[in-house]
Amino acid sequence: MMEEKRYDVIVLGGGAAGMTAGIYLGRSKAKTVVLDTATIGGQMVLTYEIANYPGVELTTGYQLSSVMKKQAKSFGCDIKANVKVTAMDLVGEEKSVTVGDKVVYKAPALIVATGGRSRMLNVPGENEFKGRGISYCATCDGDFFQDKEIIVVGGGNSALEEAVALTKYASKVTILHEFDHFQAFEHAVEEAKANLKIDFIMSSHITEFTGDQSLRKVKYKNLETGEQFEKAIDGVFIFIGYEANTEALRDTGIELNQWNEIVANEKMETNIPGVFTAGDCRAKQFRQITTAVSDGTIAALNAMAYIHAK
């Protein structure tokens, strides 16, 4: 028998945007539940150090998300992490989200704040050698590569900045990028080019990872000439940007753009009445904690206005 739980607003996602929405809704006495399929904090938890969040001198993503969670809870917001969403109905007067086979959450308004995640290469060997030579976090795993030779995949700010940071440990860092130019800011490119431990493979992408207990080799292809190469390597760090967590929303009627990001107006309203969005899953230019917090605030206030107008 399915248990039914009624709320004023359901928030999908417990990152900076979802937590902010939870804080604002809870504080205005709206009965709110935040549901997250993973850890509360989203991408924020995956950020080691935060130095540019206004009003907070220096903190970690874990600390900042813990405080946001505590604030939301203190205002009466229910928070459920690591849930398995099995069904969703966003169209109609009442929105519903089914969790597992036991509980269905219902509310007149819903905020989608499902965030984003690091993009993977999705090539053979990537899952097998994750943690055995392939990493997505230089701060976490850099010291395992002391005096070793590594590749950094990507051409944005993260890739170039992390490549420079990794030269503290590695004997040599090769930046491998799919285009013939970088997307990173000029100062980041200049810093990487000036570093004697860094060299570059451009217009190429990795096609396979191979090894035994650990990663030993990568195969890569030059995208201009089609030539295939093999390179012995100790580690590969992958920083190729983010993608929106919107797979579960594809059949719900919500409008997505060509990159599967949710389309919304400046009130954070989606194409479905009563459904709002906020944070990194939304189509927008900048993805920062500050912009997620802004989105979450706007979505919460407009969700409240929507409920009151009904």
Binding site: A38, V45, Y48, A81, N82, I134, S135, C140, F145, Q213
Partner: protein, 115 residues
Amino acid sequence: MVLPTNLKHVATEDEYNEILKNHENVMICCGRMGPMCVPVYDIMEELQEEYQHVEFRDMLFDSPYAHVIRNLPQCRGFMGLPFTIYYKNGEVVAATSSIQSQEQITEILDREFDK
């Protein structure tokens, strides 16, 4: 030297040995407070109620006694935090490196320790 999590910790080598001796099913996550580690601690915290027959613990990777995990043969080749080890009757039955999802963790717990 322990991690600032809500999990029970392993704080000494003696404690580590006691835990393995006194509990049939044990999961120890050895890491730091980094982005790949924190989600695993959170998942363990969530699962504690459902898997009461499993002893969930964390351990600070940089503590002097963490060699008991770092030097396990099952961790050879690991180059990503956290190192997560599953023990049945004191023997290692599974080990993973780097971040894991709840699905990946429960798959191991259900396989090795039954639900």
